[in-house]
């Protein structure tokens, strides 16, 4: 995945968001001394390669009533975790979904799915839907609710690379 210096400048200029003006890409291009067409081509290429996941709005889910969340964790047979994980990730209430290493004996779970809902009951109801979806391929599961935020710093990309 090769990102050149111009891509890094584009990332630095847009990771905080796009300007709300009729021609936002022209505005970003002008600020960077690029042609709009060049900027748009580079954005499309980065999107095709997965460097950009999507260009979209992220609503504040707390403001829209999704105030409860839980980290659900599942012990899924290795042979089917790729296929089943893809189906869990596609659920509209799952915001992160990863296969991760187990840490036996303390931690048998290899599939992590963050579930969001309007209440803890709603989260539990969605957890049951995932359990149904996984069926017999799942040998155990748990859910961890956060009780306190101990630290929260925004993850910012470092566009200059090494520093």
């Amino acid at each position: 995945m090769s990102i050149d210096a111009t891509d890094r400048r584009i990332i630095a200029a847009t990771q905080g968001g796009l300007p709300l003006v009729p021609e936002p890409y022209a505005a970003v291009a002008a600020a960077l001394g690029l042609e709009q067409e060049d900027l748009c081509d580079r954005l499309r290429t980065m999107q095709a390669r997965g460097v950009i996941r999507r260009v979209a709005v992220a609503p504040n889910h707390y403001a829209l009533g999704m105030v409860a969340n839980g980290m659900s964790v599942w012990d899924v047979e290795d042979g089917v975790v790729a296929e089943l994980g893809a189906r869990v990730g596609a659920l509209e209430f799952v915001s992160h979904c990863y296969e991760r290493s187990r840490a036996r004996p303390v931690w048998p779970y290899n599939l992590f799915a963050m579930i969001h809902g309007a209440s803890r009951d709603a989260v539990e109801e969605k957890r049951a839907r995932i359990a149904d979806l996984l069926g017999a391929a799942c040998r155990g599961n748990d859910i961890l609710y956060s009780t306190r935020i101990l630290k929260k710093t925004g993850l910012r990309l470092r566009p200059e690379g090494g520093s």
Binding site: V57, L91, R100, H116
Partner: protein, 149 residues
């Protein structure tokens, strides 16, 4: 602020994606039967009211070469506050949550290079005398997450 039906349609539509084109607001506004100015005004209002958290390209943090790892520790309740202080003192600890499990502290390490993950985890083990369990990502699944507005 109170959201009306048009605001909700805008939020639902723009979670699915925003065009990379010369006049993207005009493209979306036509689709929704709005004027470009009305769309932009509503987005400004929702951004100011923090209904919209972010609007634009979402970058894959790992694509720029950084390394990330979810970690967890089993911290005796009596030691919790002192362990929090020691763990959070590392600038590579990006977020840290207390959770209701035997593994009661969960944090993300974000480092410039992959070997640093192990180094920071080992420092924390030395400083706290407690085991740091690493849960590296083996596979990331595509997310269909949508908040119905």
């Amino acid at each position: 602020m109170t959201l009306d039906a048009t605001d909700r349609r805008i939020l639902n539509r723009l979670q699915d994606g925003f065009p990379i084109s010369p006049a993207p607001f005009d493209d979306v506004a036509r689709e929704l039967g709005l004027t470009q100015d009305a769309l932009i005004t509503r987005l400004e209002r929702m951004q100011a009211a923090r209904i919209i958290t972010r609007f634009g390209p979402f970058y894959d943090a790992a694509a720029l070469g950084g390394a990330f790892c979810l970690c967890a520790m089993e911290v005796p309740v009596a030691e919790l506050e002192s362990v929090v202080t020691k763990v959070n003192a590392h600038r590579q600890v990006a977020h840290n949550y207390e959770r209701d499990h035997r593994l009661n502290m969960w944090f993300v390490l974000a480092t410039e290079t992959a070997p640093e993950i192990e180094e920071v985890a080992m420092s924390i083990e030395r400083e706290t005398g407690l085991r740091v369990h690493l849960f590296p990502k083996l596979r990331e699944f595509f997310i269909g997450f949508r908040v119905a507005a």
